[in-house]
């Protein structure tokens, strides 16, 4: 691999077109060739903007306004194409071509590398990330972690002097996170490339980097130095701003009573699954023989490897997907006269019975402002407007979204979107709340808020079913853990 490229920012700033505030302002930062940097900062501090600028993908003059200078290896990033490689967060949007070999070759082709040399580089890049697959292997059958390693191989084949990673593991399960981190560590051990990674889980990268830079929300650098030093002096401050700092865990709520303790459960379960088989596509069951009860005030977490059918089970319990076999029956308390089969309930009947929070919040947004979004469910229930307004205001305040009441849901940050999607389900006060990976990619502050809110709901008698990979979440909330039986289906989705 070629030598590392240095980074130099002098009074640099960027303002997105149409915004009043600068995303980054007055930044002075020097990174020497070959340094390994972890870039931290509260959400909104401009980390992603800086990384995009370094990769030269921030856009032309009509997409924003630039101030000061930003140089990579002595030249402007736009002129340093091929010197800089960027790995992004979403595994699905980084796979570009249908076959593994072609996908890795794509960057080299764009740089005009001769054909023989391309295939030599493809082979060694795939080796470097530990992806031992035939070149003709279809990219659509890869897991999330494999897709990220594939994208990393594509970046490495371009032999960049500066390697940039923008939250590369935020969408991965714990096994995927390790897989990608280890691949990067292995690559860096044999490379002189300069390395910058954004990540709010410090523990993942702290032993791979030798410098931590913290950006200040108002612009400029808040802290800069060796990882141990920065984390020791700024740990509490970083943790408070949402960074996951080892030794500074987010606060955990106290549950009022422990339902799985001595206190006997009152009444029959809300839902009872017996030898249930679930399928996303009719006739193709992904899991079967599932038996569990859902009780009021009890948190049940569904865990297990990718592809075991966790999400499908959750959607089936939520009355959204028809059971493939076995029985799923709603108790009288939950059914309240609507019949014992949730899948036969009307969409409107579901609202007060079962609320669902999807893995991707964007799938469930329907309106142009947060206020309207939260009113959708209550309006479908024909609740009087005055009461709707009261509920919406209360939820906005409870989830720190009041200032954004008139904003478009799609323009929110990841953490804000998650809070809104939970709020939309709570607006109709369902007896059972089903959540699919509620804490995926969340900063520690959003995490703590979510967990506190859910604990409060449990104490008030709401039942909770959550699909999760998050061991901290299980630790903090779970009354019962339901592990999916059976081996993962190869190439299957979660």
């Amino acid at each position: 691999m070629s030598g590392g490229a240095s980074v130099s920012a002098r009074g640099w700033g960027w303002r997105h077109a149409g915004r009043r505030a600068w995303a980054v302002e007055g930044l002075d930062l020097e990174i020497a060739a070959g340094e390994r940097v972890l870039l931290l900062g509260a959400s909104g501090a401009g980390k992603s903007t800086l990384i995009s600028a370094l990769a030269g993908v921030l856009g032309a003059a009509d997409e924003g306004e630039e101030r000061g200078t930003l140089l990579v290896g002595g030249t402007r990033p736009q002129d340093a194409r091929g010197r800089v490689g960027l790995l992004l967060q979403d595994p699905d949007s980084q796979v570009l071509l249908a076959r593994v070999g072609d996908d890795v070759a794509f960057g080299c082709e764009n740089l005009g590398v001769p054909r023989d040399e391309i295939w030599r580089r493809v082979g060694s890049a795939l080796d470097a990330v530990g992806l031992h697959l035939p070149l003709s292997h279809p990219t659509s059958s890869l897991s999330g972690g494999q897709k990220q390693r594939l994208a990393l191989a594509g970046v490495l084949a371009m032999q960049p002097g500066l390697l940039l990673l923008d939250e590369p593991t935020a969408n991965l399960d714990p096994a995927g996170v390790e897989e990608v981190r280890d691949a990067v560590a292995r690559v860096l051990a044999h490379s002189e490339a300069t390395f910058v990674v954004i990540e709010h889980r410090v523990a993942v990268w702290r032993h791979v980097v030798n410098r931590v830079v913290v950006l200040a929300p108002g612009g400029g650098v808040l802290a800069d130095g060796p990882p141990e030093e920065v984390l020791a002096t700024r740990g509490a401050e970083l943790a408070a701003s949402g960074v996951w700092v080892p030794g500074f865990p987010p606060a955990r709520p106290l549950r009022a009573a422990s339902p799985h303790g001595s206190a006997p459960l009152l009444g029959a379960p809300l839902l009872r699954a017996c030898e249930l088989a679930v399928a996303r596509v009719k006739g193709v069951p992904v899991a079967s023989g599932l038996t569990l009860d859902v009780d009021p005030g009890v948190a049940t977490v569904i865990t297990g490897p990718n592809g075991a059918g966790k999400s499908t089970l959750a959607l089936t319990l939520a009355g959204l997907v028809a059971p493939e076999g076995g029985a799923l029956e709603a108790g009288d308390t939950l059914a309240a006269g609507a019949g014992s089969h949730p899948i036969r309930w009307k969409s409107r009947e579901l609202l007060t019975r079962i609320g669902t929070v999807f893995q991707d919040p964007e799938h469930q947004f329907l309106s142009s402002t947060l206020r309207k979004e939260l009113a959708v469910g209550p309006a479908a229930l024909r609740i009087p407007q005055r009461e709707i307004d009261e509920r919406v205001d209360e939820l906005l305040a409870r989830l720190r979204l009041t200032a954004l009441a008139e904003a478009n849901p799609f323009t929110l940050s990841g953490g804000e979107k998650r809070r809104l999607s939970v709020a939309t389900a709570l607006a109709t006060r369902p007896a059972l709340l089903v959540l699919d990976e509620p804490t995926f990619g969340q900063d520690s502050r959003t995490w703590a808020e979510l967990v506190a809110l859910l604990a409060e709901l449990l104490d008030s008698g709401t039942a909770l079913v959550a699909v999760t990979h998050d061991a901290d979440f299980v630790d903090a909330l779970a009354d019962r853990e339901f592990r999916m039986p059976g081996a993962p289906v190869p190439g299957g989705a979660a």
Binding site: L96, A98, N110, S347, H363, Q364, A380
Partner: protein, 262 residues
Amino acid sequence: MSILNPVRGTQAVYAINPVAKLVAALLLSLTLVLSIDWVSAGVALVLEAVLFFWAGLGLRTFLLRTLPVLIAAPAAALTTLLYGRPSGQVYLQFALVNVTDGSIELAVATGLRVLAIGLPAIVLFVTIDPTDLADGLAQVLHLPSRFVLGGLAGLRLVGLFLEDWRSLELARRARGVGDSGRFRRFFSQGFALLVLSIRRGSKLATAMEARGFGSSGERTYARASVMGWREGVLIALAVIVALAAVLVSVSTGHWNFIGSQS
């Protein structure tokens, strides 16, 4: 999804450049739409049927993939039989239905023609790998690589859109708005999918740009797309079939240019 999953195999036909397949299918269909007579379509179909043995498809795959054409051909023939332009002896008349000598001949010609154009087109296209096609379009036909590769990468999103659509459907039911009319729901859901797909598209564009796509320098190709003797043979076969069909039809007096009165 047939466009996303090309049929794969080891026979020679799989190695033929997609551009040659495109040219061959175009040659055949352009010739056969010039006339509506049963002779030219029949001759073409008989010759094609012989060639299908080397097309590299098993009988099952062949029937499955060509099913739409196998259904469309008799349907088109039946419609023409019942409602086609009447001439000659009348066999059956009932309301608008009018079966005559003329409509029988036209029906046979139409059915054969749909088969003669549709079958080879499908047989040639199902063995095309989209990546190979993009290589051919960019390197052989010299179409702009930005356009070709952008389209190729976009094709991969189709599978994701199908999943998005399903999630949107479930999410609407969960949000309490799944009871409204099917028609209204379809449109609001379609709009939501459009919003999602634009977001996916722009993320994809950034990922491509980050790998140097769209830079001003000369682009190289990891896979060579060349036209050789195999491609020549395929195009020559298409020319022979088309010529034979026209010659037999003209010499037996059945050829009639579309639009001219018979």
